[in-house]
Each structure stands twice: as structure tokens, then as C-alpha cells.
């Protein structure tokens, strides 16, 4: 038995999706390159160690994204009748947990360095026959890595908007946090250069707080996904007005007496149910089938992400199962 069809992207979104794949590879490559450059100069600086780890960590989400891209368009199967669109949530859950734990560890590590008043030793390095302080080389490596993070963030934001991809938006935010924290690491090393030993560990603590914040943000998003949260705006916690738009549209149809809409995000798609109370003026079974099909098709055009929307005729809205959501009669959001 086969139920349902796999989602197909509109053609213009296909292009963006290809770009997303390219960006992910570019991210992994350049972040690992940055990690190598920083790794070569890491020495005994806590801030450098933290920056190095965060470079490697920020390469994980694009990797998870690439893996989920391979799965999300698969046809629904007997084992997974709902399809694979939510593969991205799985990827997200893993990265969010890893991020948070490593961030907490780093925070503990740098806090201990501050408490024990550990002074960071930074020696010299011989480059092209010149012997110079490793701190300057560290600053150069950090600047390089920060430039990569900055560029990646700037490249990702427009693609994330186009695809309404929360995963990519989160990555872009992460890249931003990354170059900011590398700026902090540079400040920390400059402080050490001026003989202020705490600069290094303080910068590292700041970076780890950023990592924990990234992790927390992602966890919150995953929890939202798992709890079937109503669609939210990209990069915000605000709910989208889409359910109200659909409801308003259905209620205008001649065969509809009343309607309620329940939507959830399903990977990159949005799905859900539209409960409809038909006007009782002798609709035959055939007519009812036709009307529901037509309505489903019509509603699906309201937003490109809508897929597998169910139009369910019910006798009364109170009889929907599971119970319908208390929907405000008219929403201010629905107006726009």
C-alpha cells in the first residue's frame, strides 16, 4: 500500500537548494581549513583552543544539513509513511546537544583557569627566518578564520530567506557568533601582550558562552519541531499568520459553513489539517469529495511550502480529533 506523494520543490527553489548544497560544502571545507590554520598556532592559549574547537563545531551543522538533504526527498516508505522530510530535525537535535555540551565544558575549563589564576604562556615561532612572538601569529590566524565566518554568514542569509530554511538561518547566526567570538579572542591575546594574563581565559569564557547560546537556540528550535509547533517566522519566535490566512480563505468558499486550521512544520514543508463544516444543503458524497479535493489544491497554492494538507469534513468543529485548537475569532496577523 502506498500513501501520499513525496514533496517536489518549485523550480526556482531548486536553484536555491543547489546553492544550499554548495554552501554547505564550502562551509565544511573553509571551516576545516580555518581549524587547521588555528591548530598550527594554538600553543597554550585557552582562547585559541576554544576558537579551534568552535571552528570544528560550526562545520558539523552544514554536514548534518548535507546528510539530511540526501534523505528528505525520499518517497514515503512502509516504515516511514510520513516521508523523510523531518530528517533535518534529527540532524538538528544531534548538533544542538553536542554544541551545548562542548560549550559548557569549555566554559568550565576557562572559568577554572581564571579561578586558579593560570597565566597563559605564549612563546615564539620562527617564520621565514624571523623569530617572532606566537601571539601575533595567533591574531593573524584568528583574523583569517573570522573572515571566513563573516563571509559564510553573509552568503547564507539570502539563501536561507529564499528557502525559508531555519537550519541554514541558524548556521548563518552561528557563523556570525563565530567571527564575533574570534574578535574577542584577538582582544584577549592583545591583553596578554600587554601583560594582562586574564585576557586569554576571559575571552575563552566569552566564546564558550556564545557556543552555549548557539546550542540552546538550536535545542529550543528542535523542541518546537518535536512538539509540532505552529509554523514560526524565520529566525524569530513569532508565529506565522499562515493558519489564519488559510482559515479566512476556506471560510469564503460557498460550500463551507465554518473551518479550523491546524498547521505544523514538517522539515522544510508545512503540513496540517483543515477541518471544514459543510453547509448542509444536500451535498452528495461525490460532490463532497470533489469540493474537498478542490479546496486542498487551492489552499496548497497559498504558500509554496504547503504539502500534504488534509481537508477534513466534520459535522461540527467540536468533534475534531484530536480536539481543535482554540482559535481567536479574528487575528490581527490575519489581516496582512
Amino acid at each position: 500500500m502506498s500513501v501520499g506523494r513525496a514533496y517536489a520543490f518549485p523550480p526556482e527553489k531548486w536553484e536555491a537548494r543547489k546553492k544550499l548544497r554548495k554552501l554547505s560544502w564550502l562551509s565544511i571545507g573553509s571551516l576545516l581549513l580555518a581549524a587547521v590554520v588555528i591548530g598550527l598556532t594554538v600553543g597554550q592559549s585557552q582562547a585559541m583552543k576554544t576558537a579551534w574547537l568552535s571552528d570544528i563545531l560550526t562545520a558539523v551543522p552544514p554536514l548534518a544539513l548535507l546528510i539530511s538533504l540526501r534523505y528528505e526527498l525520499r518517497e514515503p516508505s512502509e516504515r516511514f509513511p510520513e516521508g523523510y522530510a523531518r530528517a533535518i530535525s534529527v540532524a538538528f537535535l544531534v548538533t544542538a546537544c553536542v554544541l551545548t555540551m562542548i560549550g559548557l565544558y569549555l566554559l568550565y575549563d576557562s572559568a577554572m583557569k581564571l579561578v586558579h589564576r593560570e597565566h597563559p604562556p605564549i612563546g615564539t615561532i620562527v617564520l621565514f627566518g624571523h623569530q617572532l612572538w606566537l601571539g601575533w601569529v595567533m591574531i593573524a590566524a584568528l583574523t583569517f578564520s573570522a573572515a571566513i565566518g563573516f563571509t559564510l554568514g553573509k552568503l547564507k542569509t539570502p539563501v536561507a530567506k529564499q528557502l525559508h530554511s531555519k537550519a541554514l538561518q541558524a548556521e548563518a547566526d552561528m557563523n556570525r557568533a563565530e567571527w564575533l567570538s574570534e574578535g574577542a579572542a584577538i582582544v584577549g591575546i592583545v591583553l596578554v601582550a600587554f601583560g594582562l594574563w586574564w585576557g586569554d581565559a576571559a575571552a575563552a569564557a566569552f566564546i564558550s558562552i556564545e557556543i552555549v547560546r548557539d546550542g540552546w537556540k538550536n535545542i529550543r528550535q528542535v523542541i518546537g519541531d518535536m512538539m509540532d509547533e505552529s509554523p514560526t517566522k524565520l529566525g524569530e519566535r513569532k508565529l506565522e499568520p499562515l493558519p489564519y490566512r488559510l482559515r479566512a480563505e476556506v471560510r469564503q468558499l460557498p460550500w463551507v459553513k465554518d473551518a479550523a486550521v491546524r498547521l505544523r512544520e514538517h522539515g522544510h514543508t508545512v503540513t496540517g489539517e483543515v477541518f471544514v463544516v459543510p453547509r448542509r444543503d444536500g451535498l452528495s458524497a461525490e460532490q463532497l469529495l470533489q469540493e474537498t479535493e478542490r479546496t486542498a489544491e487551492r489552499l496548497q497554492r497559498a504558500d509554496w511550502r504547503l504539502h500534504g494538507l488534509m481537508v477534513v469534513p466534520v459535522r461540527a468543529l467540536e468533534e475534531t480529533s484530536p480536539p481543535r485548537v482554540a482559535q481567536r475569532e479574528e487575528s490581527r496577523d490575519a489581516a496582512d
Binding site: T124, I125, H130, W133, V192, W197
Partner: protein, 165 residues
Amino acid sequence: MQFRLLLYIALTLTTACGLPRDTEGTLDRVRGGTLRVGFVVDTPWVTATGVGAGGVEGAIAAELARGLGARIAWIHASETPLLQKLHDGELDLVIAGLTKDSPWAARASLTRPYYVDTTTVHGERTEVPHVVAVPPGENAWQVYVERVLESRKRELAAMRYAVAR
């Protein structure tokens, strides 16, 4: 080309502004004052000379003091108390035939290797990089020590066998 430019900026910063600086001002204190050196005898790296230490690393300490016009206060003890004192800032230098992979790396700051020895361990040729230890965070002092080590590399390598004989 730009990389070279950065390199020169870094060099200028180092010399012009006296950066990096020490946390506890070791370099300034040693200059024209006293260099407190802890040593553990480990021939040929460190030998006992009666007044203080000789050997390859004894020569390093003497060279460091000479360059700054300082006199040396020698302290002879075993490795653990010496490195603890170094960590607490009661010593400026520890010479003990230390190697780069020493477990002390977390408490003291080990310098760049001044000499890489080759020995045979279980029939395998192993490289053993030799270092001296300075207090952590005394980065101006460490830069000075490492500069001296780098500039005397050849003499130190020659000494390694001269002392052994």
C-alpha cells in the same frame, strides 16, 4: 607580499612598544639584577660545578644572565619542588634536562626546543627535543629566552658532545 608586510608590522610592534609584556615583570627585574635558576643534575645537559650548574643548560643560564648583566642565584633541588616554585614565581628558570613531552607542560612554560637529540628506545630511533622551563605568562621573558636559544643553537649542539666526553 601582504604576509611579509604583516610580519614586519608584528616585528615593529614587538620592538617599538615592548610587546609582549610580562605579567609579573620578570624580564625587567632580571635585567641588571638577579636571575634565580633552579637546577637538577642530568649529565650532559646539567652538571654540578661546585658553585652552580654547568653542562649545556648551565651554559644557557650563564648566557641569559650575561646578556642582561645579571648575576645568577643557583638553587639545587629535585624537579617537583623546583617546578612548583617556578609556577609560583619564586624562580625565573629551571634547567633539568627537560624534554618537550614533559608532563610539566601544564604548570610551567616549556620553551621552544634548543636541541633535538636522537636516542634509541627499544631499538627505535626517537627524537627527543630538549627544552628549559620558564614561569607561565612571563611572555617577554620567554621571548627573550627563546631568542637566545635560537641564536646559540649551533654552539649548544656542539656542546652536547663536548660535555659528554
